[in-house]
Symmetry: C2
Subunit: 413 residues, 2 copies
């Protein structure tokens, strides 16, 4: 069983958009245990698409197209699929009905060009699109399956999740279930992670592992297979447990979990409130924390102390300390954290002050030098980091290190 | 002259990464006036790659591959290209020298597997990679051009910019120069932009236009061609001028310009300083403003007044006003802006207070209701918006509307 994706649209070949749809579908196919062999992007030219489809019908069993289902002349997908398979286009009343409903909802009359969208290749199992005007389809013919979905990402994602995934699961119940789990690690570099877990990895025969370095964290992907879902889960969990034992508190989460979610849950459980004092990050840490719905339960707010006068006036950092040690210093970081903890009425104050660059460096203080501190009203601790990357990366890494400092504090025994 | 891109790497087909390299190359080809007909992604399987290469050699004149040039067994590009073209792999001493230099720089000894990287198909014009270990190449054979570049994005981009672009420019001097310019618009919806410029667009014969809606703005792409660079620029500029006349102050920039850059330049020119008071955006506006290097010249900082006590204590918003009108109200937005302007010692204070959702709505105040205000010490103005989208989109749109409010203020006549 070989699968192939065809992304249709001249805007991809003209570089106007990056084809992210193929990546979404590729991930789904991995989960279904289906091998994806080819991804192609073709323009709206009917002859290019026809030859690509013919080739795909030769070499693949399952062909998934996205794009080219709109109402304009450039939208040639169904017409060309019908040509490739020697089928007629026929009118689907369900599609016409959905179109009428859609236009009624947005209070407009159907434009004649939209009527094109109710014709699909004969024999197609139509998928009504409640997110837009273009119907999708699954078509079985001569032991081949051709499916078409709209190019608009959210329409495509919803329709595939709700229709294609269940269809494929039923049609091709996988003989073995293959699953992956991702462990997310922060505070360690890629090579340190590698060294720590190498011995363990080399001893495993049931698993495959991948280590990926992101600007934000290191991810270890664990993949395994077994005849049943339950067994796979059990195997994965045993490997996760062992790796977590080795990597200890450097593991902050798994799969889709984010560090702001993990920190938020810890704060909620402990009924603690946090406030931030940010210089070089300019509000980024606050922005990240407040991505989580309900963060008002544990986030008080804070001070963006970009200018020295804001540090002095709102955080009450004494100007003589700033003069003596400089704005980017351990001492100022500590006083910022203490100030924000106190004046924002929180249990914990966290601060970041650093040189994000490209300007602002001195002989002793290089670009990437960042101090961060955490104050809880009783004690104040600080960290010094020398970070790398461009301005935005240094800022992102600062905010994430500070979040991790908070996480470490909250998980201390 | 038909071009084709082949992206090589199983990580693309397994959905681990999105192929963004193809998009970069597609854009370059548009600039060079070269037609791109196909983009394919193939796994590290030699037979898949071989058949893809053979097909590409049949249907295209210029084939650009990325990926598969590393030192591991999965890296099969040069070996497979040699097979497809019936060429031997030969040792390139320049590549060996570069490899030695590279490993000396990082203070490590060359691993035996890296030595594979010094063999390229016979006849290739080698491109030494000063950014990594994998050499790139341009190979001409039988009226076909095959070029290979590493998959690591920054290596690929630099090597293509410095080598392939000049090579193609010299080899295929375009008969006409084709160029695009993007006008960036904020504060108007897609359909309003469409209605405003439709008459103008329909009258033009020398230009083609595209209108794209992003979460952040609306972009109008103007494309035209002429025999010389100078003429193209002149044509583009005349269209930009006319569209800017129609769209007026809704146009905030062009091409790569960002709104934070535009606002920053206005503040610098006018020697004004700004501070922000953010509730639902949690620091996002400050984060966006400080993306610009040197923003300390005009950005004072601000207050993240997520909790009501921070509004009261740091921004001095009277608690009776909050009780009377609610935290999300025109009155509180105005007092937040006035407070932050005063206490952060800035010329201008900007505030945002709203309901980002999914929780927090009441019968009268729906999710997406956002008030923003601007205070300059003399007068205070406020705006009410009802925004759509999920939590993060509402926050992003709030921050951008507030930035645009500041831009409008700074460009007022």
């Amino acid at each position: 069983m070989k699968a192939e994706i065809i992304s249709i649209g001249s805007e991809i070949l003209r570089g106007q958009i990056t084809d992210t749809n193929a990546n979404f579908i590729a991930k789904k196919l991995v989960e279904l245990g289906i091998d994806l062999e080819h991804i192609s992007a073709v323009s709206d030219n009917p002859e290019s698409l026809l030859s690509t489809l013919k080739l795909a019908l030769q070499r693949s069993d399952l062909i998934i197209t996205t794009g080219g289902l709109g109402p304009t002349e450039d939208d040639i997908t169904y017409h060309t699929i019908a040509r490739a398979l020697n089928l007629k286009l026929i009118k689907y009343p369900e599609a016409e009905e959905n179109l009428k409903k859609f236009f009624k909802k947005i209070n407009r009359t159907i434009s004649p060009s939209n009527l094109k969208q109710i014709y699909l290749p004969e024999g197609a199992k139509i998928i009504i699109n409640q997110y837009g005007t273009a119907p999708a389809m699954i078509l079985e013919k001569d032991n081949k399956i051709v499916c078409s979905f709209p190019g608009v990402p959210h329409e495509m994602k919803n329709l595939i999740e709700e229709n294609l995934v269940p269809y494929l699961k039923e049609k091709f119940p996988p003989s073995v279930i293959k699953k992956s789990k991702i462990l997310k690690i922060t505070g360690l570099g890629e090579s340190s992670v590698n060294e720590l877990i190498r011995d363990y990895i080399n001893k495993q025969t049931n698993f495959s592992f991948g280590i990926y370095a992101n600007p934000e964290d290191i991810q270890v992907q664990i993949t395994t297979q077994a005849p049943t879902e339950k067994e796979v889960e059990k195997l994965l969990q045993s490997s996760v447990n062992q790796l977590t034992k080795i990597l200890d508190n450097y593991v902050y989460g798994s799969n889709e979990e984010t560090i702001e979610e993990v920190v938020g849950n810890l704060l909620k459980t402990k009924k603690l409130k946090v406030a931030v004092a940010e210089s070089c990050t300019g509000g980024m840490m606050g922005e990240i924390i407040t991505r989580i719905p309900g963060s008002s339960e544990y986030f008080q707010g804070g001070v963006i102390s970009y200018n020295v006068r804001v540090k002095e006036d709102l955080l009450k950092v004494p100007s003589k300390v700033i003069k003596k040690y400089g704005e980017v210093s351990r001492q100022v970081a500590k006083l910022m954290a203490e100030g924000v903890q106190k004046y924002c009425h929180s249990n914990i104050g966290i601060s970041i002050t650093g040189i994000a660059g490209p300007g602002g460096a001195t002989e002793k203080k290089k670009v990437g030098l960042v101090y961060m501190a955490l104050a809880d009203g009783k004690k104040t601790v600080a960290q010094k980091h020398q970070l790398f990357g461009n301005r935005q990366l240094i800022r992102l890494r600062s905010a994430r290190r500070a979040l991790n400092m908070l996480r470490m504090y909250l998980t201390e025994k």
